[in-house]
């Protein structure tokens, strides 16, 4: 790459730089011209960067806001669930308590009945007495549905009891629970027939049933006998129960001795019978929860995993469901409670969801507001920055800038240059009216108001008029300006910006240029007129064609050299000495001694005097060359001029030339000399012809020699 452009590879240092600059010419140029971005040379206040703040801050609000909303949801939901569980637990506990109570009350009834038997002799309680005692206990029909007396009937006492039953008026015959099914140990064991029943109604079918004939009943029966405590059977369907509801039979053992025998063998020996309570479980449950709202909670009584009363629980329907264990008659039971759907629904609100949605909305609103606020402040900052930038553009514009509100006819803005132009400070300028700042009559010949209205109308129509205008500054001085108008976009009404350039200097320059052109034109024409006149006069006074050619060429040449010298001096004239050197120089031939001596004080000639004096000198020199001193080898001319208060005197003295003879007639050259001095300078030219050399004395009044200078 480096050797690719050998014409640039002037050295090892530059080749690197040129290779880089050829790759990225703009970049390297800008690196040279501009300070490197980030350098401390660039003040940070000149920068405006869009801030990440307007993104970050809203996010800082948004994310925690959303998280908080979710947390609010979780918290509210937990609170609601806890409240639901508390409500449910409280209700469930109430039911459990009632069930406990009911069972306890009914067990008391059973124990009271047992106490009745205990307090009497074996045959002391008649059937009717039993019924009278049990009747009130069973009045509520909730809990114990029936109380029974089940005596221990030994094998040999069977007939005795059957006859006693007959006596009591009970249709009685000892028989197994399930007819036709005889127990395995029928022959050897004691019988436990149902002997008394209260209430009797609907229970007649139970008389005489040998409860020991059924394994379920026998299990509880034997347990009660052996432990001496009330024992309940597993839930079973009673033969007389047409609804197939589950019941449990609770046996309370009675012994022949009080207190009850201490050992199992003793108890077996001394057992006389059982007081039996029939608990119909659905009724028990109903009785316990009779006055409670059953809609809220479903309650069931369970044994093992079987529902024995109440509504069956829907497995896994609610996490709130609880199972409360109780021990009744030596058996484990469970009170199972579960909230109903209605209970859950009534206590489950949309509050958590609403809280979350509300949180979301609030967060989003806050985020949005924050974002919009930050962006708008950022936008305002950018706007202010841009405003400052344009302010600088306007403030440092080379033109004076005024902004005019067309509706209110007032100035609304002015830059520094405008203030400088009008020589006012900003406040003064802003309080000035346009009329005060404008000359009454404008360069287009119209009055200021009419002219301004035309231009402003054009600008309002979307044009950009450019025109000359005469403004007036504070010092009442008029100054010509070039004004450009343009309409500005604005909400404050129609605004017009005027960009004003003071063109005084330009106009002066243009005028100077035009004057120079006119001057040149004038001089060229005067020169041409002079040339024509010279041609005619020379022709009329010369007899030889060669003389005519030579004299004409010399005269025109003298006009030419004066013209070019004056042009160089911009027609400001020149020193007489310079004019002499210029005109007479060619006669001092190279290699020779100075043949023409020049001496005199500084004398500045006005431009108009130069051409004539040049012509005069030229004629004198020509004459000298032709007839006078300069025609001889050693001839010399001494040109001196002196100046006094009134006039300037020029002396042309020829010496060492050939002997002088006064000419018979004056040639055109002599007439030109005399005519020019007399006509143009009001002076005199005296030409004398002494033998040793021509002597010319020219006297010019000072005032005519400097007339132009005075006039200018």
């Amino acid at each position: 790459m480096r050797s690719a452009s050998p014409e640039f590879s002037t050295g090892p240092h530059t080749s690197d730089a040129t290779a880089r600059s050829s790759r990225e010419p703009r970049g390297s140029l800008e690196r040279e011209w501009l300070p490197v971005p980030g350098e401390s040379a660039i003040p940070s206040t000149l920068r405006h960067r869009p801030r990440a703040r307007s993104i970050v801050l809203p996010l800082v609000v948004l994310v925690p806001g959303l998280v908080l909303s979710v947390m609010l949801y979780v918290w509210t939901d937990n609170y609601q669930a806890a409240s639901l569980a508390r409500d449910f637990t409280s209700l469930a506990q109430e039911r459990e308590h009632r069930i406990h109570e009911t069972i306890s009350v009914n067990m008391q009834k059973l124990l009271s009945t047992a106490a009745l038997f205990d307090a009497s002799s074996e045959s002391g309680v008649s059937h009717s007495a039993f019924r009278r005692f049990a009747g009130p206990l069973l009045a509520d029909r909730l809990g114990v549905r029936a109380l029974e007396w089940v005596p221990r009937v030994r094998r040999d006492e069977k007939e005795l009891y059957e006859s006693r039953a007959k006596l009591e008026g009970i249709a009685f015959g000892i028989r197994p629970v399930n007819r036709g099914q005889s127990a395995d140990n029928e022959a050897t064991r004691d019988h436990f027939p149902v002997f008394y029943i209260a209430p009797r109604k609907n229970n007649e079918a139970a008389y005489g049933i040998d409860l020991a004939s059924d394994p379920v009943r026998r299990e509880a029966l034997e347990r009660a006998r052996d432990t001496g405590l009330p024992a309940a059977t597993a839930p079973l369907e009673l033969v007389q129960d047409t609804e197939h509801a589950k019941s449990t039979l609770v046996f309370v053992p009675l012994y022949s001795s009080t207190p009850k025998p201490a050992t199992v063998d003793d108890r077996r020996e001394r057992l006389i019978g059982f007081v039996l309570g029939v608990f119909r479980l659905p009724d028990l449950l109903l009785g316990a929860t009779a006055y409670l709202d059953t809609e809220d909670i479903s309650v069931a009584l369970m044994h093992d995993t079987e529902v024995v009363a109440g509504r069956a629980p829907d497995a896994g329907r609610s996490a709130l469901a609880r199972a409360h264990p109780i021990l009744v008659g030596g058996r484990s039971w469970e009170i199972y409670s579960a909230p109903s759907q209605a209970f859950i629904t009534a206590r489950t609100t949309a509050r958590p969801a609403l809280a979350m949605v509300g949180g979301f909305l609030l967060t989003l609103a806050a985020t949005g507001y924050l974002y919009v606020t930050l962006r708008s402040s950022e936008f305002r900052a950018a706007l202010a920055h841009s405003e400052r930038r344009f302010r600088t553009l306007v403030e440092h514009a080379p033109e004076g800038i005024l902004v005019v509100n067309v509706e209110t006819r007032s100035l609304v803005d002015a830059n520094r240059n405008a203030c400088r132009m009008f020589g006012m400070n900003r406040a003064e300028l802003m309080h000035s009216s346009l009329t005060e700042l404008s000359a009454p009559v404008q360069p287009d010949g119209k009055d200021a108001v009419t002219s301004a209205q035309e231009h402003i109308r054009e600008a309002l129509a979307g044009g950009t008029p450019v025109f000359r205008w005469l403004h007036i500054g504070r010092d009442k001085r008029e100054f010509p300006c070039e004004v450009r108008l343009v309409r500005l976009q604005s909400t404050e009404g129609p605004l017009i910006r005027a960009s004003i350039t003071d063109i005084s200097e330009r106009i002066r320059s243009e005028e100077r240029q035009a004057r120079l052109m006119r001057e040149l034109d004038h001089r060229v024409k005067n020169n041409l007129a002079t040339v024509i006149s010279l041609v005619e006069q020379s022709a009329a006074n010369t007899t030889s064609g060669e003389d005519l050619r030579a004299s004409l060429a010399g005269r025109i040449h003298s006009i030419a050299i004066v013209h070019s010298a004056l042009a160089r001096s911009h027609w400001s004239g020149m020193q007489f000495r310079d004019l002499c050197l210029m005109t007479l120089g060619p006669y001092n031939l190279a290699g020779e001694a100075q043949r023409i001596g020049i001496q005199g004080p500084a004398w500045h000639l006005p431009a108009d005097a130069c051409a004539s004096l040049c012509m005069v000198l030229h004629e004198l020199a020509t004459n000298a060359v032709k007839y006078g001193a300069l025609s001889a080898q050693n001839g010399r001319v001494q040109l001196t001029w002196t100046s006094d208060r009134d006039c300037i005197q020029i002396l042309w003295q020829e010496t060492q030339g050939p002997p002088v003879k006064e000419p018979q007639s004056t040639g055109y050259g002599i007439r030109l000399i005399e005519g020019m001095i007399e006509h143009e300078f009001d002076g005199t030219a005296e030409i004398a012809y002494p033998r040793d050399g021509v002597l010319v004395r020219i006297t010019i009044p000072r005032d005519s020699a400097q007339r132009e200078a005075n006039a200018a």
Partner: protein, 150 residues
Amino acid sequence: MNRDGRTQRTNGRELRETLITQNNSDSAAPSRHVIIVDDNFAVADGLRRSLEDHGHCVIGMAASVRSAKALVSRTSCEVAVLDIDLKGETVIEVARLLAKADTPFFFVTGFGESLVLPPDLSDAPRLEKPARIEDVLRMIDTLCAVDQTH
């Protein structure tokens, strides 16, 4: 060479004399008393000679406003030829003096159209420098003829 030049000159002069004779005989222009105001001697003197060659009488020449005014008041001319710029002065005062005396005049100027004269003189006839002698003669004749009809 000398012979040739002389011959040429002689021919030129003869031709011009013929023209003058024709001019004089055709238009029968009368001789006028003329003053010339021009700050350039060569031009003024050339014009004087030409006018005299054509039968006019140049009664004075001036190069400055001062001498021109003196000339105008001293002599009684019939027509004046005025250069406008006289070494930085303008000939306007002289022109006004002439206009006051009802003496016809015209300008011969190198300024051309660019020079704006005061309103009272803006209608004055003008010739552009360098002016041809024929134009100058015709202007003199016209102005004097008009002057006489008034």
